[in-house]
Symmetry: C2
Subunit: 504 residues, 2 copies
């Protein structure tokens, strides 16, 4: 039965290469404990890019990746991306970007796998059930910071290439890696590197693969869009310094009241954005999209119980998904400068700064959103006739990204998913932002596919982040299959296909 | 000239005691550097009662007071007031209350001086120009945490008694001290102590003096009222844990939006309290009060420039003072549980708790205010049809306090001010709350006078707190004079006089 299978698969290979899929997946199965141990080793390195006191660990992590890729006889290149200026004015080097190339056959398509080695902060006392830096397996889940975001996916790609090499199966495409260490804090230095390497590292790259995302349900998925983010600060400044609510309360027009009032004009109780004009540029919700959404396996009750809420903004799947993926929303994150501790303090805060963001979608333009939000807040503030001063700033301007889920890359992805999981993948979008996708697209003009292996409940950025052993190991097989399926599509076709749905 | 003065003063003494005022004030002048050094020693002890990690320093501070009073041969008694249960469930001892008695002549009136040794938190990086725990003299001002609130006033009272004793001038009244260490966090344990000591420590006390307040201008003042405080927390709880604004934004009814919306219904841009019924019980603003306010030396432009604002809620002196002293107001202090740090974080906070307070005045009742606020917030929250949960709690219920500024104690205070400063004192009220005043009044039934020596610009609870050397030293003389003037009023008269203006 097994050998028949192999024969069939070989016959299916469109390029005439012998594709020993069963041998490769057997190899993966046999090595899964080794893969888990590799992940344990990587998770044990606290490569938190947001905490500069952990920078040595992050540098060590980048060194471990470099050695791993060198050990596999890749053509490794470590690229300097300059320095970072900290809040106190001091300057520290950014972690170098590690690149590698496996194969340089001009007749083959070249894929570039992007990933990152840095992680979000995590402390046991934040509510972790286990030590976040000691990968712990419980009921088939591998708990640890960075397990799903993004260490296991990067390792799965490495193991995929390694399996081909170990079994002497010819790589069907050339594979490049580009691994950075600052993703969680905004990919400092990477934009400039991509620009600088456009005609160098990227010159022979045909397409870029990002596995820095997750499935939407227990069904495998291909991700074809992400939202952008316009992140704002709105600061109201009043007295020279904090006052006492007893001594001065009643005489002073308090900055907090002003700030609360203007924040209350951003979004309605039913989720409608109240800033004039902001939703005008949102692309029409097409019937085609609606059909894709209807296909997605998404249960509202499961979602409700996963996040622990009694109600959601929308009560049907399509509307809910649409508002997670392709409509903008406003979130108010918090207020800096006010009393935020436990207990009681009778302060009139002198200067308070709200942070809020608008998840932005095609065809909204950050510059336009910036003006609309700023004008709106100043207008409502002016109505209050407050003597305080308002300053509005847009501090993150990350554009959304959108691909065509019928593009040849996605067709290859669908075949790979079907081969490994025997199901059609869900076509999903991501509510969050992966700014580098948009940078890759705008700067390199390469096509991009997002090929997630993380589970829908992996808790990225949260306490008790995990990836399941199943997703990690089957994900490795998915990547093996994808490398093969790529050659089923014409490389030229892949290169020149339209990006009709790509937002501006 | 000087000796003539002394003779005149001796003749003015109403009781026949020889009152060597000039000798006493000369003694004070001669010892002023010694007094400043004593204040420096006390300020150097970080007796922050809000931070339990500083509890040893606070205990040390109480020990220093105890030793000082023992050294002056007072009858010192250190009273245990039990323990404090912390948020984590652990129990720590409260700092003991230090009492002392100087003189026990049954034929003399006995005053009890109340004060506190604990301070508000202070860190250099909060915006202090100098080390907050190293008393620093700049242009006649003594900068340090607790300098004005309340270490210098307590020292001034101690030095006043000390001067009488050093010069062998008989104390015209018996003087008791009651010094606590938890005032800044709500005088934990003190209410019970006052109850327990009603027939003991307080049995022979005729009146109670509080110098835990400040002048209103550069003119000395007597304080005859304080506002109360109804301090609330309003908590909106949504998802089980914090969510990611990209992943979940748009699907979730965010607790922050709910909280912002209900907070925006507390007070209007023009300072009107919007909670139905809350201002109904406010006592009428009488012509008599208006006249007192008109007499107060208060310049709106000076106040504006002192606190550093471009505009105030009211543009005439009487309305402004009335809203600082005898009308309620709402202050929103901040939000716990939301993102409050610098930088950007794309969190949807799961549980957010606003802290706000209503400065409360006669004849408002805390229990009524509690119901009005709770009902109002639940009503506006309900209109939003949010699936989140709202909890409203009143966590401080401190009643206002009001005395009759024509009471004999105040007449004695007026004479003492006139003797030292050659001006009539201003009669002022305090916008803040000194809950212990109301407790003393309700439990002991003793009459109370507030006799401030702090300057109007001392920045209590704020960065760069200070007391001027002038206020500290002349304040010591004021206390010396007050002890004498007390005997000019009939003790019985003082004990039995009405408290017609005292609010409920």
């Amino acid at each position: 039965m097994n050998s028949v299978c192999v024969v069939v698969l070989v016959m299916l290979g469109a390029s005439g290469h012998s594709f020993r899929f069963k041998d490769l997946t057997d190899y993966v199965d046999k090595h899964q404990d080794h893969y888990v141990q590799a992940l344990r080793d990587w998770v044990s390195i606290e490569s938190d890019s947001s905490d500069v006191s952990k920078r040595a660990e992050l540098q060590r992590m980048m060194g471990v990746v470099e050695e791993k890729l060198r050990g596999m006889k890749g053509k490794v290149d470590v690229m300097d991306i300059g320095t970072q200026t900290l809040a106190d004015g001091s300057v520290v080097p950014l972690p170098k970007v590690v690149t590698a190339a496996f194969g340089d056959d001009e007749n083959k398509h070249t894929v570039c796998v992007y990933g990152h080695m840095d992680v979000q902060p995590a402390r046991r006392e934040d509510g972790w059930a286990t030590d976040p830096y000691n990968l712990t397996e419980i009921n088939g889940n591998l708990y640890g910071r960075g397990a799903s975001d993004n260490k296991a996916p990067v390792l799965a790609w490495i193991h995929a290439v390694e399996a081909y090499k170990a079994l002497n199966v010819e790589l069907p495409v050339n594979v490049k890696f580009l691994i950075e260490g600052m993703e969680e804090t905004g990919s400092d230095g990477l934009n400039a590197l991509v620009e600088a390497q456009r005609e160098e590292f990227f010159s022979d790259v045909g397409s870029i693969i990002i596995s820095d995302c997750s499935w939407q349900s227990s069904r495998p998925a291909l991700t074809y869009g992400t939202r952008g983010n316009c992140y704002f600060s709105a600061q109201v400044e009043g007295p020279r310094q904090d006052l006492h609510s007893g001594v001065d309360g009643g005489a002073v027009i308090e900055p907090m009241s002003d700030l609360i009032a203007i924040l209350n004009t951003l979004i309605s109780a039913s989720g409608q954005i109240l800033i004039p004009g902001v939703t005008d540029a949102v692309a029409n919700f097409t019937e085609e999209e609606r059909k894709i959404y209807e296909e997605v396996d998404f249960d509202l009750d499961t979602y409700k119980s996963t996040i622990g809420v009694d109600g959601l903004m929308y009560n049907n799947k399509v509307d809910l998904l649409a508002h997670l993926w392709r409509f903008p929303t406003v979130s108010i994150h918090g207020i800096e400068g006010a009393f935020s501790g436990p207990g009681t303090k009778t302060v009139i805060p002198a200067k308070v700064t709200a942070k809020f963001s608008i998840r932005q979608v095609p065809d909204m333009e950050p510059a336009v959103v910036e003006k609309q939000v700023t004008d709106h807040l100043h207008a409502v503030f002016q109505q209050r006739k407050s003597p305080n001063k308002l300053k509005v700033k847009m501090i993150i301007r990350a554009k959304p990204w959108l691909a065509d889920p019928k593009h040849a890359l996605y067709e290859a992805g669908k075949r790979a998913v079907k081969r490994v999981f025997s199901v059609e993948p869900e076509l999903i979008r991501e509510g969050g932002t992966i700014p580098i996708a948009r940078t890759f697209q705008d700067v390199t003009k390469k096509d991009i596919i997002m090929l997630p292996i993380g589970g829908f409940d992996d808790g990225l950025h949260s306490q008790n982040e995990k990836i399941s052993r199943y997703n990690y190991i089957e994900g490795t097989k998915l990547f093996i299959a994808y490398l093969h399926e790529h050659i089923g599509s014409q490389a030229n076709n892949i290169r020149s296909s339209s990006r009709a749905l790509t937002g501006s």
